[in-house]
Amino acid sequence: MSEYIIKNGHVFDPVQGIKGDKKDIAVKDGKIVDKVGSGAKVIDAKDKTVMAGALDIHAHVAGPKVNAGRWYRPEDKHFDSHKKPGITRIEGGKSIPTVFKTGYEYARMGFTFAMEAAMPPLYARHVHEEIHDTPIIDEGALPVFGNNWFVMEYLKNNEIENTAAYIAWILRQTKGYGIKCVNPGGTEAWAWGLNCLTIHDPVPYFDITPGEIVTGLMKANEYLGLPHSFHVHQNDLGNPGNYKTTLDTLKLAEGIKPKNTFGREQVLHSTHLQFHSYKGTNWGDFESASKEVMDYVNKQKNITIDTGNVTLDETTTMTADGPFEHHLHGLNHLKWFNVDVELETAAGIVPYIYDPNISVCAKQWCIGLELALFAKDPMRCFITTDHPNAGPFTRYPRVYAWLMSKKYRDERLNTFKNADKVIAGTHIGGMDKELSLYELACMTRAGPAKALGLGKDYGGLKAGMNADIAIYNINPDKFPSSGAEIEKAFSNVAYLFKDGKICVEGGKVVDMGKKHTFWVDAKVPENKQVMHDIREKFLRYYSVNENNYPVPESYAPHQHIITVDATKA
């Protein structure tokens, strides 16, 4: 395997606290090393920015609802499906790119990892078929548990150990990475056309509340000592006044301590917080609650968040929050897709246009940016667009530019149709903060890597770490004055190293690399009760046989298996 030496780049690495100093990075056999031989290929990074490969902690990039969103929206790519010269395949889709475009575009932007944010266990085989076909980037997937019959029945009686044993079984069957929870209880209620809007609403027939589900899953997560924490999409997403429910949910983490061997410090990751930080009682008096929410997050050390930035595009919303999508369809009347998944979850899809001329959309744009700008600890706040819900991930460069240039975001803010109304209902107008490259490295590299329990090998440039490296055409000494330039620089890396191999050069994909599928194998004490319950449920309620449920090995040819042992718990 070849050796490289990346010379004279401005290095930004929160793992080592390096803030733009000129430093050489040596690469050998897929790892970052202290030094390499004289034969090493030299990469001139003079006047360039060098960071670790970025990690997307929350994106919908593979699986049944993502794909439904693709094929039921031919109009999303009728004029946007092209093959670029070179080794790449045809790339289609604006709001939901095909698997090929997904891999290429992430790589071109300097990403080396993306976490599929919601995997219905019954559809795990589909998720992994798509991950298998997505080039270059490493991926993992989070199975959803928040409306799972086993989980609700165990937690009703506060049986953390059984819950954990079941979760461990599911992670193994589905090659899953951690515990995702979407609209706890609300999605099961949706199977009857109902919902749970607070953490106290009882779940029909299951005699449990969303709050109990959240607490139980958090405890089960720490019982198992998984690399990632409990990852939640709270109840009442997208409604004015929902920040109260958001705070109620976050407070459930108080007093719960992280227990793991991966250096992870949070016990709860609150995702696409923008959608959960709304004040007001209706869309008329709708206002930003980013301050209230971030004030709490900033002082609560065992919580991490991601933003869910609205990019003001036409996109396709999709979530396991079935009732929300039905609600959204009632608002915009665009084509509604819904799937309820037996014993486990549901999903909905509705196209949505974030129109800058509509003040609600403009305020949502403000709130997303405010979250990142209010964040005191960039290692606990990560930038996402909840792809494709608030906008396609291909817009990250523009979001970065808005966050790094007050001028750029004010240009946008002041040209909104109802700018005054928008500014009055939000904080952004008065915020001068501009993110630094170092903070960006925290929010897109070191931070998400640490929160996912991957901090030892990913998200940094320390010797011994995996050689996933992004080199951008940005000279920190002459930082681009225009937002458009910042966008351009982050859209196409000068170089992307993946596992020590150059996969992108000058924005062009030159190598498909060797993508890995990350999953967690959790060892738990033998649990006859849970195994019996599983057999029983498959015999009586599932529509597939237990033996046809697991994801076959062949679906993940290059596995990166992280093992945890909870037998001594």
Partner: protein
């Protein structure tokens, strides 16, 4: 306004994709440059010069460019598609996508057109002096934005699924139409001089359909609410006013429900 004249000199074996035959692509080009523009049959890329003799030169902009096409274009797709200005006159029948996604200018076809013509037309004037196929002025698959502006005039008959998802603009059909006229319509105006087969205005939210002839089977979701004396496309007549589709959702304006209207000439 400069005129470029294209004369067909060779027929494609399959169908020729002529996405470059429109004033926007020709603007600022001399005959020789126009001849170099691409034309496609499957994976074979050739040039307009291979299929047409090209005379004259285009104006500086689309607006001052006129294109006249002579010879048999029955197997040519995308003529005038996406044009934003200028004029195109085709003295022949054309294949699919003629005048689709048209934004401005004037397109005249002195012959029949196949299916998917005038798709999602947003502006300009499109005149078909023959018959039209299916999905005339409809939306592209999956899109809820069909014809939104401009005027589309057909002298003869049109096929099925005409003006699906229409949101604006005006369509006048001189002859008859097959099934499904104005399905999912949410605005705009359709004038049908002849007869409709079945399923007129199904799932219609908003908009107006005027029918001078007969409809084989009326949709159950339509209900007569009175008569109106009106002048429609130059003809004065009494029309029975049906509101509908009563099975579909309808917007409210100032508390009042806004229905779609189907006007049947008495």
């Amino acid at each position: 306004m400069n005129t470029v004249t294209l004369t067909v000199k060779k027929q494609p074996e399959l169908y020729l994709e002529c996405e470059n035959v429109n004033p926007d692509a020709f603007a600022g080009k001399k005959a020789a440059d126009i001849a170099k523009l691409g034309a496609y049959q499957g994976k074979e890329t050739s040039t307009l010069g291979d299929y047409f003799t090209i005379a004259g030169e285009a104006g500086a902009t689309a607006a001052d460019t006129k294109i006249v096409i002579n010879g048999d274009c029955t197997k040519m797709k995308y003529i005038g598609a996406k044009m934003t200005a200028g004029e195109v006159v085709v003295n022949s029948a054309c294949d699919m996508y003629t005048g689709s996604w048209m934004k401005g200018g004037k397109l005249t076809v002195n012959g029949d057109v196949h299916s998917f013509c005038g798709l999602a037309m947003a502006g300009g004037e499109f005149v078909i002096n023959g018959n039209a196929g299916n999905y005339l002025g409809a939306a592209y698959r999956g899109d809820w934005r069909g014809m939104s502006g401009g005027v589309l005039r057909v002298k003869g008959n049109a096929g099925s699924d005409v003006a699906s998802f229409m949101t604006g603009g005006e369509m006048i059909i001189g002859g008859d139409v097959d099934i499904h006229l104005g399905t999912h319509m949410e605005g705009g105006k359709i004038v049908l001089k002849g007869n409709a087969n079945r399923r007129v205005g199904g799932q219609l939210v908003k908009g107006e359909i005027y029918v001078f002839g007969k409809i084989n089977v009326m949709m159950p979701g339509y209900k007569p609410v009175g008569e109106k004396e009106m002048e429609v496309d130059g003809t004065k007549a009494t029309f029975v006013d049906y509101i509908g589709d009563l099975g579909e959702r309808h917007p409210k304006r100032k508390g009042e429900t806004v229905y779609g209207h189907l006007y049947m000439k008495k």
